[in-house]
C-alpha cells in the first residue's frame, strides 16, 4: 500500500478548478518530484493534500485513509509536513522559535531533532536568536525546511525547496532530502531545478494544466526528449 495516493483529484480556489484529475502514488521509500510549467498546479496539488483548499473530486489516501479536506492540525500529528513556496517562515520570531513551532504538535522532547537541524544547517545555529525576517533569501529557505523537519514527519512535502539557494546549498539540500528519505520519510516535492531533482527522484510527475502529462522514474523523464524539450529547458 502506498504511503500516499492521489486518485483523480479535482479541486481549486473557488472559481474554475485548477486541478483536473491528478494521480500520484508515493511509497515510504520514494522521493517524488513534480515538475511542470509555471501555474500548472504543482503547488496547488501539495496544498490540496494538506487540506488548504477544497478538493471537490477524487480521493487522497494517506496510510489507507481518505484525508481529503482534513485540516493541517489533524494532518501534522499523523505525519504530514509541508514547506510552502512563499512566506514560509515566521518573520518576527527567532530562528529557534520557528523551529519550535515546527514541533508544536509534538508532545515529546524535541531537543535532539533541533540539534540535528542545526547540524544540517550550521548557519541557522549561528543565527538562532535572530528574527527570521532578517535572514537572506536562502537562509529563510533553510529555516523553513528545518521547521518542517521538526515534527518528524513520515511524508515531507516541499514546494521548491531549492529556490533561491546558492548552488552549494542546493546540493546540500538535495543531499539532506535524500538523507531524510533514507531515514524512512517519504518525500514529495515540487522543483524547478528539475534536472537536478529528477536525477535522484524515484518517481517523477510532469504536471501541466492541472493534469498528469508524464509519469515515470526520474531517469525516465530526463531521458524522454519530449519532456526535456517542453519542461526541462531542452
Amino acid at each position: 500500500m502506498p504511503l500516499i495516493e492521489l486518485k483523480h483529484v479535482v479541486g481549486g480556489y473557488g472559481g474554475a478548478p485548477i486541478l483536473n484529475g491528478v494521480n500520484m502514488a508515493i511509497e515510504k521509500s520514494d522521493i517524488g518530484v513534480i515538475v511542470g510549467p509555471n501555474g500548472a498546479g504543482k503547488s496547488t496539488t501539495l496544498k490540496a493534500i494538506f487540506g488548504l483548499l477544497k478538493v471537490t473530486g477524487g480521493t487522497i489516501e494517506f496510510g489507507g485513509e481518505n484525508i481529503a479536506n482534513s485540516l493541517p492540525d489533524k494532518l501534522v500529528p499523523r505525519g504530514l509536513s509541508f514547506v510552502p513556496q512563499e512566506k514560509n517562515v515566521f518573520t518576527s520570531m527567532s530562528v529557534e522559535e520557528n523551529l519550535e513551532m515546527g514541533a508544536f504538535t509534538r508532545k515529546d522532547d524535541f531537543k535532539a531533532t533541533m540539534a540535528w537541524v542545526y547540524e544540517m544547517f550550521p548557519v541557522l545555529g549561528e543565527k538562532r536568536r535572530q528574527p527570521a525576517g532578517e535572514l537572506s533569501g536562502g537562509q529563510r529557505q533553510m529555516v523553513a525546511m528545518g521547521r518542517a523537519l521538526m515534527s518528524k514527519p513520515s511524508l515531507l512535502m516541499l514546494d521548491e525547496p531549492s529556490a533561491g539557494l546558492s548552488p552549494r546549498y542546493v546540493i546540500e539540500i538535495f543531499e539532506t532530502i535524500q538523507r531524510v528519505n533514507a531515514e524512512g520519510v517519504g518525500i514529495l516535492m515540487v522543483e524547478q531545478n528539475a534536472r537536478q531533482a529528477l536525477a535522484f527522484a524515484t518517481k517523477g510527475f510532469v504536471l501541466a494544466s492541472g493534469q498528469n502529462r508524464f509519469t515515470g522514474t526520474g531517469a525516465e523523464l530526463i531521458a524522454d526528449p519530449e519532456v526535456a524539450k517542453s519542461f526541462l529547458g531542452g
Binding site: 509555471n38 532578517e134 537562509q139 546558492s166 552549494r168 546549498y169 524547478q192 529547458g233
Partner: protein, 260 residues
C-alpha cells in the same frame, strides 16, 4: 570619471544591528554589459541591490549612477533617471490584475495627474491605449495571457516572478537590476527569457545587473561576473575564470562544477 560605467559603487557599507551585511564594497557595472553578481546566501547581494536601488540608504560610501551621485536618492527618483529593479521576493500589487500590474509601470502618464484627467481626457485616453497595448504584448510574451485578469496575489510563485520581470519590459531603462528572477521559473520558459534579455542587451542597449544562483544562466548571459562573500567583493571576471578559482568553487559551488 569613466562614463562607460553605468553604476559605480564606492566603498559602501551597511550594518544591521551587529551584522555587517555589506562591508566597504566597491564594484561597477559597465555600460552595455550584462554583469552577474553571485555569492553564497547571505553574502549581501540583495542588500547591495537595495542600496543601489534606493530602498535602503548606505551607512557609508557612495553610489554613482551614470556619473551622478545618487546616494540617498529615493527609488522613484532613480526610476525616473533610468534605473529599474526587480525584487527577490516578488513585490506584486496583489489586489490588482496582472495586466494592471504592468500598466502602472510606465512613468509620466498624463492620466496620473488630476488636472490632466479632468481637463485633457483625450490625451489621457490615447496614452492609455498605448500603455495597454504594450502591456498586452509583454504579458503574452511571458505566457501569462490566460491569467492577465487574475489578481496578481493569486498567481503562482513563478508567475509572480514573471510579472516582476515583465515590469522591466514596460519601459526603456538604462539599467535593469534583476534579483534572482530565475528562481522558481520553469527552465523552458527561462530559456526564452534569457534570449530576450540578450536581445534587449544587444539590440536596445540595455545594461543588466543580475543576481542569480542559476549557474547555467549566469554562464550563458553574464560577462563579467562579480563574486561577493560576506559583504565584500572577492573576485571579478568572466565565468570561466571564476570557475577556475578553487577557493570560490569550494565556498560557493560546494563541488567542482563541470563546464556546461
Amino acid at each position: 570619471m569613466s562614463s562607460d560605467l553605468v553604476i559605480d559603487v564606492r566603498n559602501v557599507s551597511k550594518r544591521f544591528g551587529g551584522l555587517t551585511a555589506v562591508n566597504n564594497c566597491s564594484l561597477s557595472v559597465r555600460r552595455g554589459s550584462i554583469t552577474g553578481l553571485i555569492g553564497p546566501n547571505g553574502a549581501g547581494k540583495s542588500t547591495l541591490f537595495n542600496m543601489v536601488g534606493g530602498n535602503i540608504v548606505p551607512d557609508s560610501g557612495q553610489v554613482i549612477f551614470d556619473g551622478q551621485d545618487v546616494t540617498g536618492f529615493q527609488p522613484y527618483q532613480l526610476f525616473r533617471i533610468g534605473m529599474l529593479r526587480t525584487f527577490q521576493i516578488a513585490h506584486e500589487f496583489s489586489q490588482m490584475t496582472a495586466l494592471e500590474n504592468l500598466m502602472m509601470v510606465p512613468g509620466d502618464q498624463p492620466g496620473e495627474h488630476l488636472l490632466d484627467t479632468w481637463l485633457r481626457p483625450r490625451l489621457v485616453r490615447s496614452r492609455e491605449t498605448d500603455v495597454r497595448k504594450k502591456a498586452l504584448d509583454v504579458i503574452d510574451f511571458l505566457k501569462l495571457g490566460h491569467v492577465r485578469d487574475e489578481l496578481a496575489g493569486n498567481l503562482s510563485g513563478g508567475q509572480k516572478k514573471l510579472l516582476e520581470l515583465g515590469r522591466t519590459m514596460m519601459v526603456d531603462a538604462k539599467i535593469v537590476l534583476l534579483d534572482e528572477v530565475a528562481a522558481g521559473v520553469n527552465k523552458t520558459l527561462l530559456n526564452d527569457l534569457a534570449s530576450n534579455i540578450e536581445r534587449m542587451n544587444r539590440e536596445l542597449g540595455y545594461t543588466f545587473f543580475v543576481i542569480e544562483h542559476d549557474m547555467d544562466l549566469i554562464g550563458r548571459l553574464c560577462d563579467p561576473v562579480i563574486v561577493m562573500a560576506q559583504g565584500e567583493k572577492i573576485a571579478e571576471g568572466p565565468m570561466a575564470e571564476i570557475r577556475a578559482n578553487p577557493a570560490i568553487v569550494e565556498a560557493y559551488f560546494g563541488t567542482p562544477v563541470e563546464a556546461v
